[in-house]
Symmetry: C2
Subunit: 448 residues, 2 copies
């Protein structure tokens, strides 16, 4: 399918698959209840996920630590894309999928997007197409298979299995599936809210070393292709130096996480009403209830708790050509829900509105550089949605911004310049790059 | 120092540094108390570690899960060895160190063995020699720097920073330090309880690719050198296949961990007395109190809780030459305290006594193969101590055992054959190999 027909096709899917998402009071959630003992919000099956309290002690927080609501979802889900060579070009089988939190309902999702509850039938859903291609070895070649983290301010140590498998056989696909090339997907990433978070996360993990046929097409003035496709390209740091730097941050920074009854978060300023749990500051996020009625999801209609951020975030990656290779400036960031203390994050990973107005927090490093950068330095600039299955209308602005030539070489200790090949090499392992940085890695592929 | 003088020197250290370790009732622990609210055993400073309850839900456990005591120590410690080339051979600066849990008190420990409390002065200890060489970049070259896990049946997600740094400068060393070569350390590993767990863990992480000068000394009939030093040696699986296999186990197996008040473990058969917390089955382990008086530790005398296993464990690695390369049979093992569901563990990782007598559990895979293997198939067989700072008289038998030629090729799904170069490559990252397998990796270096 030509890329410019994808958005009309998604709109058509939305017309065919009727759906309706309505915020509702918690009392109207079916099968969900606040536990008597402590008030955690759970499903009667004991599965899916729960909203609990998280008590975190960490550097930079008050001595007693701080409590907040958090989504606990110990089950690992599967995000899988089927790939196949068609006419000599690798194509990816993408699905038009409605997620209740999406602003525009239908986005391009991986071929399979499933929780373990889906496999085992707790969801009582219909059979998931193509799931077998991921679970049964021998029917496909594994190109990507790694557990990656998700939003660490809203999830406690959540991970999903990111997979790409390549097949040779013909498979029948329904109307909600389309084969698209990487080039087409990168063009679609230039549009707002078309390629969903799960797709971006999985595509970011695709190994790029030695790939990059376009390298021969012309001179590489920007060092971008080298940065992506040549692990031996000149770089500021070697890989063992990078791992040592991150090990240092993970050792020195403190992060003690304790699951506590949800009710305890009241003591840190969270207010409970019949329709939401929100922070009295008006910042952070709200826990709400949603009633979802859709004809073409695994289950026709359901209710669930969701998290709604109060304001959009800004995820920006400063890039700079150093020693002939494009480098990205990343930070080793500590977030409350991290499995392993710190992960690499975009240069700027914040909600700008939190840094303005009464009660604002100080600007994080490099936010001012991004906000004041002239338009021509924005090499990528788009709005993308976060996981629409858990987050309601959660959008972030993603930007790849060229740093000026006189950008200071000295960095704060938790920041470092890495090439994209180095970032991609780290993506063979879990919990090195956070989900926001993974989105920016795949967005940066649009630079060449 | 010649290797055969090391044990006499350790004995001399023991005579010089007087010490005494006495189990005492919990009421005699100074600064430690059971919290009123829930009974967690904590230090008044809020630091060091605590003994809490852990409620685990996992496959294979009863539906409601199971509770047990666990050590919670969110601070990352540093285990660091200083290396230096002397007369053309790399030497490691080892320390004779008393640990209260050691059966023979003094063992060879890393140059530096420090908790973050040591750095920040909570321990009120003396300055730690050589610590600066690890924390200040520029004074040394980093050979190893990675967070590795420790005993996952007794620790909740505990990790220590394993480091080796190489220096060129002369450093003054006290009487408790000795420079030893890797060859000497491997000879000392042939002795019981001489090289402590922290040293074994750190040395296991030493990259071996391309090393192995002894390769030229003669024909390699066993495929051992190739297995250690050649990442491209013929192997059963490629690295991405191995990572995919482990990702699969981590996705499919369930492990939900929740810290609960220590008192709750009573409901799962743990009995509290004034002197210990033990399981009514007489199996598992006991939490005890210890009074330690020593002249040459950072602090002269102290008391602390410790964990004492009821019976020793057996950690055995089956090895086999496949396609000309020695392979080790490892399992992807789920343990209650794992940070990331599963880690690679020895072929056999158990306490054999748990599988005999009334109330015994069934034999795990391959235990019978190890117990019935003829003596000549034991290529390494020794008793080594676990962390003497937390565990009282915790010894395990470590064995590297050659599998017979007719060993079945079909394996249970959680088992796989890896070369030692592949295991070493994984050791550049944390939480892939558990601490018992790391000991066996370094023991296997004695095979050539």
């Amino acid at each position: 399918m030509p890329a410019d027909l994808v958005r009309p096709w998604l709109a058509e899917q939305a017309r065919r698959g009727e759906y309706r998402v309505t915020p509702v009071p918690f009392s109207l959630l079916r099968g969900w209840h606040f536990e008597e003992d402590g008030g955690n919000l759970r499903h009667e099956s004991g599965r899916f996920f729960s909203v609990e309290g998280l008590h975190v002690t960490a550097d930079g927080l008050p001595p007693g630590g701080r409590r907040q609501p958090i989504i606990v979802q110990p089950e690992v889900g599967l995000l899988g894309i089927v790939a196949r060579e068609i006419d000599g070009v690798l194509h990816f089988l993408m699905q038009a999928k409605m997620e209740p939190g999406n602003i525009n309902s239908f986005q391009l999702s991986p071929t399979v997007q499933a929780t373990r509850s889906n496999f085992t039938g707790v969801h009582r859903g219909r059979r998931i197409p193509f799931l077998d291609l991921f679970l049964e070895r021998g029917r496909s070649r594994v190109l990507v298979d790694v557990l990656q983290s998700e939003q660490a301010d809203w999830f406690l140590a959540k991970r999903n299995r990111n997979m790409i498998v390549e097949i040779d056989e013909d498979v029948e696909t329904g109307e909600e599936f389309r084969w698209l090339t990487l080039g087409q997907l990168l063009r679609l990433l230039r549009l707002d809210n078309v390629v969903n978070m799960d797709s971006r996360s999985v595509l970011a993990c695709l190994p790029t070393a030695g790939a990059g046929p376009r390298a021969a097409d012309g001179p590489d003035d920007t060092g971008v292709l080298r940065s992506f496709h040549d692990p031996a390209a000149p770089s500021v740091h070697g890989m063992s130096e990078i791992l040592s730097w991150l090990t240092g941050v993970r050792s020195v920074r403190e992060l003690d996480q304790r699951r506590v009854p949800l009710r305890e978060v009241e003591e840190d300023g969270w207010l409970f009403s019949g329709t939401e749990i929100g922070h009295r500051s008006g910042r952070r996020f709200r826990v709400i209830g949603a009633d979802v009625a859709a004809s073409n999801r695994e289950v026709g209609s359901w209710t669930q708790p969701m998290i709604q951020p109060q304001v959009p975030g800004l995820m920006a990656l400063l890039v700079k050509r150093i020693r002939g290779t494009l480098h990205a400036l990343v930070q080793a960031r500590v977030d409350v829900g991290h499995l392993n203390v710190a992960e690499l994050a975009p240069t700027v990973h914040c909600r700008p509105a939190d840094h303005t107005g009464p009660g604002r927090e100080p600007f994080p490093p490099f936010l001012a550089d991004v906000l004041t950068a002239p338009a021509e330095r924005f090499r990528y600039d788009g709005v993308q949605s976060e996981e629409g299955g858990r987050f309601y209308h959660a959008e972030n602005r993603y930007a790849v911004v060229e740093a000026p030539d006189d950008f200071p070489e000295e960095l704060p200790p938790d920041y470092a310049w890495l090439t994209f090949a180095q970032l991609t090499e780290l993506l063979a392992h879990g919990n090195y790059l956070n989900v926001e940085l993974r989105t920016l890695v795949v967005c940066a592929h649009t630079l060449y």
